[in-house]
Amino acid sequence: MKIHEYQAKALFRQFGVPVAKSYVVEDPDELGPVGNDLTPGVWVVKAQVHAGGRGKGSVQVDGKVVGKGVQVAPNPKVALDIADSILGGTLHTIQTGDRGKPVSRVLIEQGVDIESEFYLALIVDREHAGISIMASTEGGMEIEEVARTQPEKIHTFTVNPLIGYRSHIGRDLGVEMGLRPDLLVPFSAIVKKLYALFMEKDCSLIEVNPLVVTKQGQWLALDAKVTFDDNALYRNPDLIQLQDLSQEEPSEVEAAEARLSYVSLDGNIGCLVNGAGLAMATMDIIKELGGDPANFLDIGGTATTDNVARSFEIMLKDKVDGIFVNVFGGIVRCDVVARGLVEALGQVKLEIPLVVRLEGNQRDAGLKLLEDSGLPIITAKDMRDGARLIVEACKKPGKGN
């Protein structure tokens, strides 16, 4: 689960990680009172969206560009004007996709005199089975770019979760980065606090880019990106309220509510599959045979009749020219899937081709249910057959593509 910068910074404050003074504004009416609190000097206005590249991205209001997603204002008045102009707009960055992300909140943050910028991240490290801490002097840069061009400037330590953080880890990373001795202990303290946040809130990523030292010698987290492990939200119920669904794809949100995994793509064939691997493979074979998937919806390993029906409804909302259901039953039973399809098709009239391939657990029962339903379902004998049938069906004259 992703959260906004301002929410991440609130968590930083709670864990004692230094951040600059800032105000969140949701409603233009709040700008007046906030304006009274802004002290003279530079303030930075930042659109709060779930996407990177805000500084280069532009905010549009009614289709017109009104400014960038991050803007520096020389004084409070200008800051308030900028905030007013972008609130309610849509931010378009390289990460947002064509639709952009709604700017429902802005963060107005006090400007600081930066002496130097750093990069700091904590992340679950699959390969080393630990929490890896990555630090670099190349703050403010895209870290993948740094990894490619100056890999020696990324310093990493993997914390064994059974041992936990020890103060020398941050100091050693600081020494490797060439920090001045007086900056080492406070740097390590920040890493320690972020590690505590990571573990306590079941994070999957904390990224601070840039983490800066001010001309006054203070460390400050100028940006903050935190994502949480969805699987652990049950033990951090306070975090669920931080979720901002307006930042996500509506169909993905709907699928997630039904505990389904949904990915939207660019083509015209809907794919309803069980298992991520089979879903990807189905997409691969459709492409191989000249078709183009519109999405894939993984009904997962615990599908019930209800959520198969639900999946099918979500799929129909996403404009598609045909649907391929490809299920190999293991824990999922083919008869359950068939019953879900029949149920969904009792509600809506099917006006596009539907190819169904069932195999494995309770296949015969499933196929019989489909046959008995009398619905215009095309059944396939195997995966290639099914892919071929749907690709052909979606190429018929009168259909797109």
Binding site: V124, A129, I143, L162, L278, M283, G300, R384
Partner: protein, 290 residues
């Protein structure tokens, strides 16, 4: 003989009184698996489908000599269940549970590194060996047949797909298993490749990978150096859009880009035949066996 399991496999099911366990228990029994015990805390003394229920794995081991545990426990309790199995002294834990918090699994992984118990999964469909007729998990046994091919997969359903194709082409299986789709898992490709390489009944190996991570690249390197038996592979996700889930810092940690193209290139460079589509896995293996 298969790998990991054998005719001496005696299974205990943790979470045996749950719905999914109760559904799959008779399927495993019908296939021939010796399910000798179940565990549900507080339900010791009950029986489910003729299987005695115990209050802990420790007492199940003491009373039944079970040596493999199959976990159906819900995600919040699954990490603890794995550790209970390890403390109880079983040799192998097969954990089907999906959605275990990753920090729990990091701890489990580190703890198991110091113990003798091995883990398959979590988020795996389990393992099936058609020769001794042992199924520890939920794989659809009707598509399996005994024979010389070992199947290792990151995906559940693609495993079934591959096995069905092999069976169709007359290539039976020594054993097939999913390693699990979660970020942190027990057995990885390399460890299972080593098992199949050492297994006298296995003559060829199918490896089914997918985009993300660098396990396939590591496997390719390992196969080149240590595996003498023919290996064929399939990588799912060739046409997948760049995953929106993998953050940048994650990509840096992993090192590789995790694309299907890179993985296929690595496998082919190691002399491994890669199936062009998921429908060609069986055929590709058959050709490699000639």
């Amino acid at each position: 003989m298969a790998i990991l399991v054998s005719k001496d496999t005696r299974v205990v099911i943790q979470g045996i009184t749950g719905k999914a366990a109760r559904f799959h228990l008779p399927l495993m029994q019908a296939y021939g698996t010796q399910i000798v015990a179940g565990v549900t805390p507080g339900r010791g003394g009950d029986t489910v489908d003729g299987v005695a229920v115990f209050d802990s794995v420790g007492s199940a081991v003491a009373n039944t000599g079970c040596n493999v545990s199959l976990i159906f426990v819900p995600a919040p309790f699954a990490a603890d269940a794995i550790l209970e199995a390890a403390d109880g002294g079983v040799d192998l834990v097969v954990c089907l549970t999906e959605g275990i918090p990753v920090l729990d699994m990091l701890r489990v992984k580190r703890i198991l590194a110091q113990k003798d118990t091995r883990l398959l999964g979590p988020n795996t469909p389990g393992i099936l060996a058609p020769g001794p007729r042992v199924k520890v998990g939920i794989l659809p046994d009707m598509v399996f047949t005994p024979g010389p091919i070992g199947v290792i997969s990151r995906s559940g359903t693609l495993t079934y797909e591959a096995v069905a194709q092999l069976t169709e082409l007359g290539l039976g299986q020594s054993a097939a298993m999913g390693i699990g789709g979660d970020p942190i898992i027990g057995y990885n490709f390399i460890e299972l490749l080593a098992e199949f390489e050492a297994d006298p009944e296995t003559e060829g190996i199918v490896l089914i990978g997918e985009i993300g991570g660098n396990q396939e690249e590591l496997a390719a390197e390992y196969i080149k150096k240590h595996v003498t038996k023919p290996v064929t592979a399939f990588i799912a996700g060739k046409t997948a859009p760049k995953s929106r889930r993998m953050g940048h810092a994650g990509a840096v940690i992993t090192g590789g880009k995790g694309t299907a193209k890179d993985k296929i290139a690595a496998l082919e460079a190691a002399g491994i035949a890669v199936a062009p589509t998921p429908a060609d896995i069986g055929r590709t293996m058959k050709e490699a066996m000639k």
